[in-house]
């Protein structure tokens, strides 16, 4: 495991490749989050909304991305987490989670974070400020 405080600006946390997105992933997230918007689970409803198929909840992807930091919870906590949703995530997409250190002032580590799909498109993009104990 990376020792967090030894990272230098420009260094990355170890990227994580998710399993291809499945319908069951989104059904589980709908149940766990209470977001039952049917464009995330039912093809006909997605089609009615002009989509080629169901799309992942943006918050599913955002929720996944923060796990890059879970192993460091003894070192600090996520103080700020800001995301822009850039592109839709479809089932069978292969998502990669990335975090790059921008700045460390000794109290807070500023990371640029994103999730990309198999075509190297960013699907979400933003920042995490990790507050060190």
């Amino acid at each position: 495991m990376t020792i967090l405080t030894e990272l230098k600006p420009g260094d990355s946390l170890k990227s994580v490749n998710l399993e291809p997105v499945s319908r069951m992933d989104l059904i589980k997230y709908a149940g766990a989050s209470g977001d039952f918007n049917p464009i995330h689970t039912i093809d006909e409803e997605a089609n009615k909304a002009g989509l080629p198929g169901i799309i992942a909840h943006g918050m599913w992807t955002m929720g996944n991305l923060s796990k890059l930091f879970s192993d460091y919870i003894e070192n600090g906590f996520i103080e700020d987490y800001t995301i822009r949703f850039k592109n839709m995530v479809f089932i069978h997409d292969i998502i990669t989670l990335n975090a790059i250190l921008k700045e460390n002032d000794g109290k807070r580590m500023h990371f640029s974070v994103n999730a990309t799909n198999q075509n190297d498109q960013k699907v979400i993009k933003g920042n995490i400020i990790f507050n060190l104990y």
Binding site: G31, E45, G58, S70, D80, Y81, G126
Partner: protein
Amino acid sequence: MFKAFIGKRSKGVENMVERGAVKKFAEAIGDLHPIYVDQDYGKKSRYKQNIAPPTFPRVFDYGNIEDFHLPNVGLIHGEQSFHYERPLFVGEKITCYTEIKDYYEKKGNHGFMGFLVVSDIGEDENGEVIFQSKAVVIITEEVRKVLTV
């Protein structure tokens, strides 16, 4: 369309950071780290208890703003942020409310777009704000037609 709601907030609703809900949520985002789900691990951690993942506040009930209704389909989630004073602890009570922060409209290539900025806030039992989240929701021409009927 929503300008009149700027500054309006819901009455607080008491929520519990429920252990089972945290486990289900952690599983759904593929993050079953023991700090979220293993009681012994939590006790030995610096927190002396389990905590919830940072996007968990999605689960809470924030109450309703009077006369404010959004359709549950056809909206685009544009941006989302969370600001924390500390992590949420499993088992604690959080009083949650929501507030309409802003609403503005733009005309773009795809016609009319409305931008609604909603803040969700959670306070602990001492009345301290623990987290504030902000969502930017984009309302498209299609949705607007439905709303104004």
